[in-house]
Amino acid sequence: MAASDASTADREIVIERTVNAPRELVWQAWTEADQIAQWWGPNGFTTTIHAMDVRVGGVWRFIMHGPDGTDYPNRIVYREIVKPERLVYDHDDDNDPPSHSFRSTVTFVAQGRKTKVTLRAVFASVEAREASVKFGAIEGGAQTLARLDQHVATMSEAD
């Protein structure tokens, strides 16, 4: 189960999903650049990956291109890698100086031929939360645009 650390339970957002694929495949989809670029999104967005070094302390630097042409730089620094069970990383907006946004923990639990994926985003501190709210507002705003664009994407997929 996705048991929470009592000390962070009040500062986190947890999202779970069981995907229809074995754990090894899901791990690859999260840790191989050519794969993650295909689904990271948000909907209607494309992703350009500038670096992806899946090691502790390694950096994944990428830009999300919005449907209106706006670019959203992102940086992820890997903090913990337990293949194929668990990824811990810090996600920020790649500003200079960098504003620490939030720490995410992704766990992969094999369930037969399926995999339960749990994302847990924890706000680290007041300062971090302040930064993440701004960043979150960007992601949230982007998502609003993504929803507008979703119809178009669905239609072209149906062709």
Partner: protein, 118 residues
């Protein structure tokens, strides 16, 4: 430094006592004395928390001099809920795309197994 309402709200809610006060006020307005009851805290300590909540716009206080009941201002909390909803929706949709991607990968692999690599 000027902070936006969402930041102010989240900062004010970063304290467990203040969240408990908010939970209590969700049931209806209450006086400072009533709010002190469930907590092992002095009235000045509770008043301090109430000031933070009031400054953030999460609660408002009645104007009558002796009994200034505290009440919840739902608009501020709605801002937080909206932001969390947006974040959650982003990830729900991200998981949708991950699942779709994995189905494509699985199909490609099965094809590869049946026909061998070209």
């Amino acid at each position: 430094m000027a902070t936006d309402p969402l930041t102010a709200t989240l900062s004010a809610l970063a304290d467990p006592t203040r969240r408990a006060i908010v939970s209590r006020l969700a049931l209806g307005e209450a006086s400072v004395t009533e709010l002190c009851e469930p907590f092992a805290l002095s009235q000045p300590a509770i008043s301090k928390h109430l000031k933070v909540l009031e400054k953030a716009g999460i609660i408002s206080r009645g104007r009558s001099a002796q009994f200034r009941p505290c009440r919840l201002e739902a608009a501020r909390l709605k801002g937080v809920a909206t932001w969390i909803d947006e974040f959650s929706r982003l990830w729900e949709e991200r998981f949708d795309r991950l699942d779709a991607h994995l189905q494509t990968v699985k199909k490609a692999r099965q094809k590869g197994k049946r026909h061998g690599r070209k």
